[in-house]
Amino acid sequence: MVSLQSYLIVTAILFSLGLYNIFTRNNSIGILMGVELILNAASINMVAFAHFNGNDIAGNIFSLFLIVLAASEAAVALAIVVSIYRQFHTIEASEATTLKG
């Protein structure tokens, strides 16, 4: 009864919520949370495809790579947020208007 499509629908909604977050947030960390939601949706999608393809290995490996890339993305993005905070004393995305202060 639980088919591939039910997982795909769940991840589509998860992806859209993340995209909405990226579109409308003004707080940099809020935007980052949206990115994490999108990456999560993608990795659930890959594992779902792998599972309904006879427990394929490649989908699992891809989702592992995705998790590693999400970790490095979070580290770099938070470092950028910290240096923006030092420069502008705020982390609102609309306040950071110049690359070199």
Partner: protein, 169 residues
């Protein structure tokens, strides 16, 4: 008479609903602290979905890296939010009038595409542990991407340290 739902369907519905409700709180809450803790629920729901998809190793990795690492990083960064005591002001939404229609249309498009498509499903075998096949594949077929991703991770960590250490006059 409708067929009775199996226990697996109920578990799936529960976990999926939990994940989506947490993600909705992340997206719509006006306090960034609430968003951060709802993100924890969303990640934990993803762990449940991985377990349902009989992918134990990915579930464990998700639990370790997302819940243990990334979420702690994000909660740490939330402390940077100015006016954090003022719960209503920390996570404002801008451009809501434009954003909601675009996202609604996009979601409907995605869902209709998913409903129309035909998906080839291979008959799956019984549950087996994925740890050993994943380890074998990582060290044979996917050895080069595995090494490359470790270099990417090293570069990202060094880059993060360099960015943080830079002095601002």
């Amino acid at each position: 008479m409708l067929p009775l739902p199996e226990i697996k369907d109920l578990v799936f519905l529960g976990i999926a609903g939990f994940t989506l409700v947490s993600a909705a709180i992340v997206s719509f809450s006006r306090s960034i602290v609430y968003s951060g803790f709802a993100l924890l629920g969303s990640f934990a729901g993803a762990v449940g979905l991985f377990v349902l998809l009989s992918s134990d190793f990915v579930a464990a990795t998700q639990l370790l890296i997302y819940v243990g690492g990334i979420l702690v990083l994000i909660l740490f960064a939330i402390m940077l939010t100015s006016k954090i005591g003022d719960v209503k002001l920390t996570n404002l939404s801008v451009n809501r009038k434009i954003g909601i229609p675009i996202i609604t249309l996009f979601t409907l498009f995605l869902l209709s595409t998913l409903a129309k498509g035909t998906w080839l499903v291979v008959e799956k075998e019984e549950y087996r542990s994925m740890v050993k096949p994943i380890g074998d594949a990582l060290l044979s077929k996917y050895l080069l991407p595995f090494e490359v991703v470790s270099i990417v991770l090293l570069g990202a960590l060094v880059g993060a340290i360099v960015l943080i250490k830079r002095e601002v006059k």
